[in-house]
């Protein structure tokens, strides 16, 4: 589904990613862990097409297509979804209008008929229940005045509405209390099936108690330095990132 080959990327002139290789297949859950500044969020943003991040080398294909040929909205419509680490507040754009536009843009891309107002509201009700988001929130402007936890829940709600084939969750667990973490994880697990894949970008092992990964990768100084099964996360939690540094001989 997703194949990243020898990816290098810069932010504000500084090299962040220095040769990433990663393959994600349908039905898999990958966790990308690593210390602060290792390039986790850069990778997530490069995948989504944020132009603040400049790719200098390498390739990424998504379902066989070159991702660099696609604008961010086309990537989304091809099935790629980024749950933002810091969701933006957009005053004046109502949640309903925003989601309706987004859902219908996806449908148009697939040559499907746009949803009627009634069908859209029905879909929204159904998905709201799934991620247990407060009804009031969807009557407001996008993320405006939402608490940290509400913003993250809203990301998962949007994910439920758009049903992506590849979801990249960038530090979705940060700023969540245990209850919110459980609800968010539950949403992600409900959305998981054999045809889609998830990349969890996270700092802590905590999230992985709720969403169990098939693979854990450690990102350090712009490269994946270690990959293993879910047991790697526990080892990291126990020994800390210094252990990796030592292993690398630093």
């Amino acid at each position: 589904m997703l194949v990243i080959k020898d990816l290098y990327a810069k932010v504000e002139g500084k090299d962040i990613l220095k040769g990433i290789n990663l393959t994600v297949n349908a039905g898999e859950v990958h966790a990308i862990m690593g210390p602060n500044g290792s390039g986790k969020s850069t990778l997530a943003n490069v995948l989504a097409g944020n132009t603040n991040f400049e790719v200098t080398h390498g390739s990424i294909t998504f379902n066989g297509k070159d991702i660099f040929e696609m604008s961010p909205d086309v990537r989304a419509k091809e099935g790629l979804f980024l749950s933002f680490q810091y969701p933006v507040e957009i005053p004046g754009v109502s949640m309903v209008n925003f989601l309706k536009t987004a859902v219908n843009e996806h449908r148009k891309y697939r040559n499907e008929k746009e949803l009627s107002a009634g069908d859209f509201l029905k879909l929204m009700r159904e998905k709201k229940a799934m991620v247990q988001i407060d009804s009031q929130l969807t009557n407001r402007s996008v993320n405006e005045g939402f608490s940290g936890g509400e913003k993250k829940k809203n990301e998962i709600f949007q994910m439920a509405m758009l049903e992506p084939t590849l979801a990249i969750l960038d530090e979705t667990d940060s700023g969540l209390d245990i209850d919110a973490l459980r609800i968010v994880s539950n949403g992600v697990n409900l959305l998981k099936n054999k045809n889609n894949a998830t990349i969890l970008v996270t700092h802590y092992q905590r999230l992985l108690d709720y969403i169990v990964p098939d693979f854990v990768h450690v990102l350090y100084e712009g490269r994946i330095v270690k990959s293993a099964g879910k047991e790697l996360a526990f080892e990291l939690e126990e020994k800390g990132y210094d252990w990796i540094k030592k292993e690398l001989g630093e």
Partner: protein, 457 residues
Amino acid sequence: MAEVLEKITAVRRISELYAANLAGITEGLPSWVNQARKPAFVAFQRMGIPGFRTENYKYTDLTRLFDNENFRRSFTPDDFEVDLSEVFNCDVPEFDTHLILVVNGWYDDASNKNTQYPEGVIVKSLRKAMVENTDLVEKYYGKLANVQEDPLIAMNTLFAQDGVFIYIPDNLHIEKPLQLINVLRSEDDLYATQRNLIIAGKNSQVKLMFCDHTLVPQQFINNNLTEFEMGEDSVIDIYSIQNQHNKTASLTGLYIHQERGSQLVTSAITLHGGIIRNNLKVLLDGEHASANICGLALSDKNQHVDNYTNIEHIKPNCHSNQLYKNILDDSSTGGFTGRIHVLPHATKTAAYQRNNNVLLTNAAKMNTKPQLVIDNDDVKCSHGATVGRINDEALFYLQARGINEKEARLMLMFAFAHEVLAEVKIEKLRDVIDKLVNKRLRGEVSKCHSCALDCIR
């Protein structure tokens, strides 16, 4: 030096035009109206055409406009057969108004005669009212618009012959909005002067819409001045929609006096026009009066839109709130000056002001200036101004959800504009303006020679 010489020329040309047509201008009007022209003439000589050197006009230089015009003046009503139903037909469902038509500054008797108003309401030609309702008109005429303060007031008073007079008696609530449609229509380039006087009695309520339109592609200058007296506890909404073609200079003045407990809402929506200067002065002259003042201007090409507000807090416990927004595209320019003056006795004043602007290109330019004069310690005042671009983070967020860049930009611009539109309290009108602004942002209301409200049918 050349500029100085030209300036003298424009003032002289206009003065000579006045002298040559004096008999026609003054004909049929009471002596107190014509007497008011004398100080206006002296003030005009003193102040001249406002330009960069005039502090209050530093963002809108009118010298070039006046140097280059030698337009026909509408000293007499033009003899057009204007069929209201044909030209406007604003038949938005259930959007029902009392229509008042003004053509080239003149009250259009023929189209307006059949309108039925609630008992006691007077709507008529101002020149007629000067003769027939002298007691009402003489008391207020020229009292709020002081010729010494502004050259455009002086010019308007100098050439004033007609416009609209509206009187709402005490305690009357008019349900149906009054829609004043100012039409510019001429076979040659035209300079039109319009003078309005509106008196709202104690505890009266009315909603007014001012719609400015051009019906033909000729060049126009329109000096349109309104004096508005708001009685105690009156509740007045004034919505103006400016949609004239880009060869029009629209110079408007709205001078409002508020008595105790009166509540004002004004919203100026500028969709199109060449040079637009809106002067707004509000005197909060009775305790617990409130004024909620908004403006939204969407400009592109070489348009220029300048809003100048002057809010005077004279009595204690009054509240004013200003919100102006501009979205500027291409090489358009904009100005906002918000003056708040809190007088020494106006304790417990609350006065707020905000001006937010979005520039869509590098060539677009916005000047913004708050001017707060506070002669009192017991006040709450705030002001804020921003000039920025479309928020890239928000843009990326929308794109990351599958919305293409063009649509995402439109959503963000519309969201920015909507805060002003939300202040429009006539729900049907708000819906209509919402759609109009949306269309305008999409560039679909580009050459509207007819009624803007008509475009959305």
